[in-house]
């Protein structure tokens, strides 16, 4: 991947915003004039004097090869949109630089430049011109744009009379027929009905597969997984993680969904106990880190258990839940005719080996429990931390509501009987 020609090259990019108003904070005509006539923006010196600044982005440096489809994820306000705005040349960076090789189009909203008083037909030309198409290009694509929007009957109706869905359809139809080398897309797929969202995603993957470079900001991890081969995780204006989509997204989901960083159990504070879980880890060929699996292979969960007092009839339970709390799988030390576990005090490792864990990529929660069957006493009950992360590539390209639970490679064939 590194030998591919570079499409976007970013060096030390940063953007500082002023917090508060330009007027009424002492920044009147005089302040404006002095700012206007100062030759250097000199971010460091003024930042120290004036604490009313916020760095939306800082020290961003990375290269994106030609043809890469890169997702940008992160919580609200971490600078995702600012990055796209700088790369779209809507606003200047405060420091650093970026080079973009080829014609760049940005899709930061649906229906850029639309005017409500104008008809659908007129707005196709206007929006196309504003987004960088020539008149000849719009003429050439006009029929395709209309077909994509499915608004043939309303072409001569002013856009202000359109429903919001129609407006979005027309807007995306124009944007979908821009023909850039680099496409910058902000969260625009969050609008429209599901079937239209699906067509937008399809269109974007067409663009991606035609070898264009795409930067795609989204909060929809399903869309990111489906479209992007690499993903940048931004946090507080900096690159937190940049790598293959499956891994980055999974790590992001794990953390943003409230997981703690430590690998130690935190659910029980009592110092007096008969038995408790200490940690968990994975064993297997495709285990990427202690809690991440990156391929569809056999995997073994190993739970460390500390037993202080002898247990005559021990019983372990183990479950995998998805993020919605749905039980995906459960197993126990009793299964397949195994009996109670007589344990003396000491440290144990309980292993649950699965031949395959064909779940769709994402973060999962593990639950482990341990009982003494004598007196049916629950000795420890642990929501294992951190979460299990499955970072294998999705084996099917299902969309949105058609995403199932399992991630199984399927061999398809057809014959005529």
């Amino acid at each position: 991947m590194n030998r591919d020609p570079v499409s976007i090259s970013i060096h030390g990019l940063g953007k500082r915003y002023r917090i508060g108003s330009y007027v009424g904070t002492g920044n009147t005509l005089r302040g404006w004039l002095s700012e206007l006539f100062s030759r250097q923006p000199s971010p460091q010196s003024t930042a120290e004097k004036e604490p009313k600044y916020l760095w939306a982005l800082r020290d961003l440096t990375f290269d994106i090869p030609v043809g890469a489809v890169v997702g940008i994820i992160g919580r609200n306000g971490v600078g995702k949109s600012t990055l796209l705005k700088i790369l779209s040349r809507i606003t200047d960076p405060t420091e650093g630089s970026a080079e973009l090789y080829g014609k760049t189009s940005s899709l930061l909203e649906v229906g850029t430049g639309f005017h409500g008083e104008l008809t659908g037909r007129e707005n196709i030309y206007l929006s196309g011109a504003i987004c960088g198409m020539t008149r000849a290009e719009v003429d050439r694509h006009f029929d395709k744009i209309v077909a994509f929007s499915e608004l043939e009957r309303f072409l001569d109706t002013p856009v202000k009379r359109y429903s919001s869905g129609m407006y979005v359809r027309l807007g995306f139809a124009v944007a979908a027929h821009l023909d850039p080398d680099i496409l910058l897309v902000d969260e625009v797929l969050a609008v429209g009905d599901l079937s239209f969202q699906r067509r937008c995603l399809n269109r974007m993957s067409d663009v991606a597969q035609a070898g264009r470079t795409v930067l795609f900001v989204s909060h929809q991890m399903a869309a990111i997984r489906r479209l992007c081969n690499r993903t940048i995780w931004l946090e507080a204006g900096k690159v937190r993680d940049f790598g293959p989509t499956g891994e980055v997204v999974a790590r992001y989901e794990t953390e943003s969904l409230g997981a703690a960083e430590s690998g130690a159990p935190d659910s029980h504070k009592a110092s007096a106990y008969r038995a408790r879980f200490l940690s968990w880890a994975l064993a297997g060929a495709s285990v990427e880190s202690a809690h991440t699996i990156s391929a569809l292979e056999g995997v073994e969960f190993q739970l460390a258990l500390d037993v202080r007092e002898p247990i005559r009839a021990g019983y372990g339970g183990f479950e995998i839940f998805d993020w919605e709390g749905k039980l995906i799988w459960s197993g126990a030390s009793h299964d397949q005719g195994r009996g109670d576990l007589p344990l003396s005090s000491g440290k144990y490792t309980l292993s649950y080996r699965l031949p395959l864990l064909p779940l769709k990529p994402g973060a999962y929660r593990l639950h482990a429990s341990f009982y003494d069957r004598e007196g049916s006493r629950l000795l420890d009950d642990w929501w294992a931390m951190p979460e299990l992360v499955l970072a294998m590539p999705p084996s099917s390209q299902a969309q949105d509501e058609w995403q199932g639970v399992l991630n199984l490679p399927c061999e398809f064939s057809i014959r005529k009987d």
């Binding site: 020609p5 570079v6 002023r18 007027v23 009147t28 005509l29 404006w32 206007l36 030759r39 250097q40 923006p41 030609v66 043809g67 489809v69 705005k85 700088i86 790369l87 779209s88 040349r89 809507i90 606003t91 200047d92 960076p93 405060t94 420091e95 650093g96 630089s97 090789y101 080829g102 014609k103 760049t104 940005s106 930061l108 909203e109 850029t112 430049g113 005017h115 008083e117 104008l118 007129e122 011109a129 504003i130 987004c131 020539t134 008149r135 002013p158 080398d181 991606a208 597969q209 035609a210 070898g211 264009r212 992007c228 081969n229 293959p244 989509t245 499956g246 590539p393 999705p394 084996s395």
Partner: protein, 293 residues
């Protein structure tokens, strides 16, 4: 990875393995002043026409009179001024020219001037929705406003020529000098408008000031009266107003009154300085205006 392989195959098919080195966009910190990128402006000239066309379409949509509105305001002003100023107050004109055509010859260019000036000053804010979402040379917005207003001007100008003929004056070859004064008018209006527009980004008071300013400026220019009514002692200061030269010039070309005197050259310099500095300041401000809008 599955999706990666798909992207690579696609690239081989379309042969996009090399970036187009002739088409590199460099994004960097810009400091100080910068020359206008005329080549970029020229490459997006089609957008200029689209934006101008949009302004005109939108302005006259759902109106009954349509393009009649290009003529009606100066025409009604002319009627009122003729009754009050020409009729009641008997304001003198040059060479006994009837007051209606005398004032209309100045009201038509003045209407264009006032429309360009206030349109330019407010155009960035009016187009904030587009400016925050897509990049194109920002100067196209005020330029499109000029183009759209010129269309109105040409409609009104035809009526003006008709009035000159109706009032028994003849059209002389001097009419071909009109474009010079028209250009002077546009340069002046854009120069002041770009300054005001740039300031307006930071200080919205400008927005309130502009209509007021246009009203005052109208009285400081020979619109409803003749420049010859100005006492000789004030003539030199009066000539510093670029619109004095423009309006005297329009009357000269259409009505055969005295041409603008040499004292008006100073106002040409003022207009050019305002225009060049206005474009420069605008270029400087537009760079980060999205953060302020």
């Amino acid at each position: 990875m599955v999706s990666l392989r798909a992207a690579e195959t696609g690239r081989r098919v379309t042969d996009r393995t090399k970036p187009d080195s002739s088409n590199v966009t460099l994004i960097r910190v810009r400091s100080g002043w910068e020359a206008l990128n005329l080549r970029e402006l020229w490459s997006r000239r089609e957008l200029l026409w689209f934006l101008a066309w949009r302004d005109i379409r939108v302005r006259y949509k759902q109106t009954i009179l349509g393009a009649g509105w290009a003529v009606l305001p100066p025409f009604l002003q002319m009627v009122v001024f003729s009754v009050v100023l020409g009729g009641f107050l008997k304001i003198p004109t040059d060479n006994q020219i009837p007051y209606p055509v005398f004032s209309f010859a100045a009201l038509v260019p003045w209407t264009l001037f006032s429309a360009i000036l206030s349109g330019t000053a407010g155009s960035l804010i009016a187009n904030a929705a587009i400016l925050t979402k897509v990049y194109f040379p920002r100067l196209l917005i005020p330029l499109a406003n000029v183009a759209a207003r010129l269309v109105d001007f040409f409609v009104a100008f035809v009526i003006l020529v008709g009035m000159v003929l109706v009032f028994g004056r003849s059209i002389t070859p001097a009419i071909f000098l009109i474009p010079i004064f028209l250009l002077f008018l546009i340069v002046t209006a854009l120069g002041f408008g770009l300054w005001l527009g740039a300031l307006n980004m930071y200080i919205r008071d400008i927005q309130m000031l502009v209509p007021f300013l246009v009203g005052l400026w109208e009285y400081a220019s020979p619109v409803v009266y003749s420049a010859n009514s100005v006492p000789p002692a004030w003539r030199l200061i009066y000539a510093l107003n670029p619109m004095t030269g423009v309006l005297v010039g329009f009357r000269w070309c259409l009505l055969g009154t005295a041409p603008p005197g040499p004292e008006n050259w100073a106002s040409v310099v003022i207009a050019l300085v305002m225009f060049i500095s206005g474009v420069t300041v605008f270029q400087r401000v537009q760079r980060n205006m999205v953060d302020i809008l």
